[in-house]
Symmetry: C2
Subunit: 336 residues, 2 copies
């Protein structure tokens, strides 16, 4: 497609219909979306519903390992999965800046369609707005999602308990360092790329096989592993005790963090989850996670204790002990 | 509250938590939202689910009769109601520009809370992002919503049939003309104000009392009554035959449209619906609609025929006949 987005594409008239028909519906194939009603009519669902929303404003729009479209699909799927839900439906709200090239929009919509298809979670309803040039930065995307939780699943932050093990589903800080190095135009190893991925396949396996042992799941996105663990410590008033040397990291990411003076504990991840679970099932949980693509580098990184209530402590590489506090005063804007 | 939004408020760290705690949670009181999990866990629902999303980028943010916050709540409630659903839950995704004053954000959040309370539909999950100054225009809001449809209800565009009556639930073009006159800084009568309102109370009464007679409901927002009727005509391949003199309009709105050379058929409404229904129940439907605040000025404006398949025709004030075509090439950006 040639040309650029015009204000008229957001008017609700013929140009809007053209944009939707020739671009969004070309790639997004769900029949419910194609009904083009103001709202999607879905079938009844047994079980508790889960509902989540996220806006995506990442800069740059495209980066090694993914783009804003893939991030928007996977991010909301992961928010649903972290409550133990099976993600069923997504909405797609797009805000476009006048002048944005069709060709770039088409790439993003393709990427949305591919990610939705891979995950098996369709986009069933959508909305497109256009604002004048200079009033937004190219494209912002909101996705909301609906999922359903099985009756025997009870995953929530407050269920973490003393003695539980803390697992991370893979290497840390890949997404954050990818965005930051790309934005700064730094030449770094081609091995550094975003970890954007949907986590619901991994979650489903865990909950199908050992529903009761999985107490808490959280994906450490904005604010990173450090801030997310601090939130869990605060809610539970328990101590999260982790070991730096157990945290999986790519060597290139570690080197880039050192070069840029960044703490990987606070960098965003977009395809990783923290799993807090019963210790007597530690080995089987770890093996199950490692058997799935998205969790192949899972590792036990610590345990929940009562030692420092509400705090996160980390044994450092050098054997020292460090208090981990929430991210504060260090703006890392637009990483997702 | 004093001060302005900083990039740090979108970092996911302490500043983000402060913003959410001191502002959003202060006004939005739903206990599910207050759990602050990544996704809201809701109870199971009987009946078919309905899901919708809309982004709001209106300029100006505040206008006579409402603001962006009220619009965002009512707009998504109305999209759900137009499918015959009882709206149950809303999500709230906010994109803020760095430097946006807290005081103005607080006004908008208050307005969101008031509209949500009036409608009886809580915000249960949310997300806040911040982009650098100049990368967005003050604030953009996305709301998505979930509703449930009773088994005996079947409201959809394709159900309109020959002989059906066409009703509009009140005066036309109030919202569109309010936004346009305010944006241009025109001094107009104080009686011109947005019609933003939730329509689910009206819809519920209609569907409780005569579920089978209500075939199609649509709210004529962007693109106005003209474009929305064209969409219905196209989907059904039927003719929408309306009479200009039956369309309710405030005198001040009509005068402002004439002054500005605007066709009220294409101006946005934010608290009105088109109801297409069985003719044998016309009087009782009209009376029911008029008995409710949001429908007190309801009027039958035409009927569905087979005369000009896929077309909208209007008998004008002067008795002539006019073909109504979809809005085209006239950008009226950011009216919602």
């Amino acid at each position: 497609m040639n040309g650029n987005i015009l204000l008229d594409h957001g008017s609700g008239g013929l140009a809007s219909q053209d944009l939707i028909g020739s671009l969004f519906l070309k790639y997004l194939k769900d029949p419910i979306l194609h009904e083009l009603e103001d709202a999607a009519l879905l079938k009844p669902e047994k079980g508790r519903l889960v509902f989540s929303t996220d806006s995506y404003v990442v800069d740059p729009l495209q980066f090694p390992g993914g783009d804003i479209g893939e991030l928007a699909i996977n991010g909301t799927i992961n928010d649903l999965a972290m409550r133990g839900a099976n993600p069923l439906y997504l909405s797609l709200g797009v805000i476009l800046e006048e002048g944005f090239p069709f060709s770039q929009l088409e790439e993003i919509v393709k990427s949305i369609a591919d990610a939705s298809k891979y995950a098996g979670v369709p986009v069933v309803t959508g909305d497109t707005k256009v604002v004048p040039k200079g009033k937004a930065d190219k494209i912002f995307i909101n996705t909301s999602g609906i999922g359903v939780v099985e009756d025997n699943v009870e995953v929530k932050t407050s269920r973490a308990q003393p003695g539980d093990i803390i697992i991370i589903s893979g290497t840390l800080a890949d997404h954050g360092i990818t965005i930051l190095t790309n934005r700064e135009g730094l030449q770094v190893s081609g091995k550094i790329q975003s970890d954007t991925a949907p986590l619901h396949f991994l979650v489903k396996r865990l909950l199908d096989e050992m529903p009761d042992a999985i107490h808490t799941m959280r994906d450490p996105t904005r604010g990173g592993l450090g801030t997310t663990l601090c939130e869990i410590a605060k809610v539970t008033n328990l101590c999260m005790d982790i070991s730096e040397k157990e945290i999986p990291m790519h060597g290139e990411v570690r080197a880039a963090c050192e070069l840029m003076g960044l703490d990987p504990l606070y960098l965003a991840n977009e395809g990783k989850c923290i799993v807090i679970a019963a210790p007597d099932q530690a080995e089987i949980i770890l093996q199950t996670m490692r058997s799935i693509q998205e969790g192949r580098e899972s590792a036990i990184i610590g345990k929940v204790t009562e030692k420092y209530p509400g705090k996160v402590v980390m044994t450092t590489m050098s054997g020292g002990r460090r208090l981990v506090v929430p991210l504060s005063g260090e703006p890392l804007p637009r990483i997702c």
